[in-house]
Subunit: 362 residues, 2 copies
């Protein structure tokens, strides 16, 4: 118990979001774009973990073509740590497979599961929280989740309802018993959550000991446990085809839905380390540097009588005149001009293009 | 008097507007763009005159590089009719030079002076009006001007104040005595003009007999008359250098200011032939075909929840999402995104670029 826990990270890099079209494409989703900082999000995610973890302890999981892109971007990763999903099956399947890989090497290893495409600005604070959470996960039979203090009543995130009554202090951080997970709420509910307090945004980051994960599955998600055991057996026999065969059977659902919403013994630690899921073009307006009129830009722009606009135009001069709250995204073969309030409707553009058979531009 | 008048047209093609940036550039002003129809405006302007005039009777006047562009676009023009200004000197100088050229061949020729970059949709109506105006100018010692029935209280046009009391009917058209020319008014004045009636927009199109033009100059613009005489003498001696030397001395001012505002004996005929000066991007929204949501486009666009937008994007797919009254102009090296209400401020963009030394993009 007193020995330093072996901690591993599993970076979930299999996403294929469309919300950053036209910059993101089917073949180049958000985690492979330098959208929040100077480097791609997957590179930033790995770099952020390195003060705590050696490359040997960092895994990624994604499909095959994404794995190739990851190896190119982060050559330091161990070849065997760049895990490949036989098919896309959402995060429950990804994390069963990745945790099983780690379990085979060390059943008591602590696994930190995190998305490849989130932004964290407070790196030192993040490492401090992560270290404490790893300590908690190593010592107790719990799953630790990172709850983000909500900045506004978002309807785009799930919420974690936690108890303020029996907080436990571990390694300098406070851990709260989780009472329940709530799916993305309607606005009225989100407002209630914020008014009541004791609700955090669900960041989608979790930490568990591999053997604890297995026991939680067995107890709270028994329909998933046979897949866990099947994959584990196949891995122990180095039976790749067997792993793939079991993996294909796993229902495509999120780890939140498959396990977290049902599990007991979950603790939450507050993630006040400057987190953003960078969920849309509009969210970048809070991340990129802005001029005095609130305009954010990448590239060369002229703003005339314009406020709170966001311009991505690295290739050409862009002039924005007399506009407010407008997003402009300029790529080689497609241009998006979008109201900040309507940026969730970019997916409608993609749907229309798909219907028209314009696959080359998706 | 009864012989058919010899009518010539002088197309003023020397303009260098900036209001269609980034499509228009210093080296390619509006008259050389296919902005209103399928052909460039200069081509359309010549084509519009051809039912009435042979190529021998059509002149253009511009600077040297524009003359080269005109010859390329309209190869039918007679070489000697593509007149070149030694320097840019506004329309008074242009029309003194062009009218003198015609005077030398036939002092009683009727000269129709018109800009190269206006749109006229009612071509047959235009020819009918022009024919009647030519008849009036041939028979009477008057200058005829084309007044456009004002559609709204524009502050972007000058106005012609005319008398409704003594209209004269000539060749089926009604001609009104002009009481005065008004410069571009403030909105309150423009509104008054419309409320009062008897005010038309000044289209910048005029028609005069060459010898009448000379006499009007002598009587109403005597400070310009020596230049007229100087150019005429140099032309008669075929002294090119002499023509250029006199031309350079002419004050750079408009024919409106130099002559029309002061002249007596001016008649106005109503130009109800679907005229537009195509003065800005916003004006094209009334000219290009529109979809049911009022969006006008050139190129391929996706409009999602957007109304009354104007998109010029022949090279790439452009998606417009959740916007109203926005102009998007997509060119190879510059992009403009502009509120329709602010399109007059495009010149500020150009001014900024000039200050920054970005000549290559102007």
């Amino acid at each position: 118990m007193s020995r330093r826990p072996r901690v591993c990270a599993v970076i979930m890099a299999g996403g294929s979001g469309t919300r950053f079209w036209p910059l993101s494409r089917k073949s180049r989703p958000k985690q492979f774009l330098p959208i929040a900082g100077g480097k791609t999000m997957i590179e930033e995610t790995v770099a952020r973990l390195r003060p705590l973890l050696a490359f040997e302890a960092i895994y990624t999981i994604s499909d095959k073509s994404q794995a190739a892109a990851i190896r190119k971007l982060v050559p330091g990763l161990k070849k065997g740590n760049v895990l490949i999903e036989p098919v896309g099956r959402n995060t429950a399947a990804s994390l069963i497979l990745a945790t099983a890989h780690i379990y085979v090497r060390d059943p008591r290893a602590v696994v930190f599961a995190l998305p490849a495409d989130h932004l964290i600005t407070g790196r030192a604070r993040f490492i401090k929280t992560l270290r404490a959470a790893a300590g908690a996960a190593a010592e107790k039979d719990v799953i630790v989740t990172f709850g983000i203090p909500p900045a506004y009543p978002s309807t785009g995130f799930g919420y974690i309802h936690y108890s303020g009554r029996k907080p436990r202090k571990i390694a300098g951080e406070v851990f709260y018993p989780v009472l329940g997970f709530k799916e993305k709420p309607k606005l009225a509910h989100a407002k209630k959550f914020l008014a009541r307090g004791n609700h955090s945004w669900n960041s989608g980051m979790f930490i568990w000991r591999a053997d604890v994960f297995a026991r939680k599955l067995e107890e709270f998600a028994p329909e998933f446990f046979p897949y866990w055991r099947g994959i584990l057996e196949a891995l122990e026999k180095k039976d790749r085809a067997g792993v793939a065969a079991v993996f294909r059977e796993i229902p495509a659902t999120s780890i939140d839905y498959a396990l977290m919403e049902k599990a007991g013994g979950v603790l939450m630690v507050k993630g006040d380390f400057g987190w953003s899921d960078v969920g849309s073009w509009a969210s970048l307006a809070d991340i990129w540097p802005r001029d005095e009129a609130g305009n954010a830009l990448r590239g060369e722009s002229q703003f005339i009588d314009s406020r709170n606009c966001l311009v991505y135009s690295p290739r050409r001069l862009t002039a924005v005149v007399g506009l407010e709250d407008v997003i402009v995204v300029d790529t080689k073969d497609a241009l998006l001009v979008c109201s900040r309030k309507a940026d969730q409707r970019v997916k409608d553009v993609i749907e229309n293009l798909r219907k028209k058979g314009k696959e080359e531009i998706l």
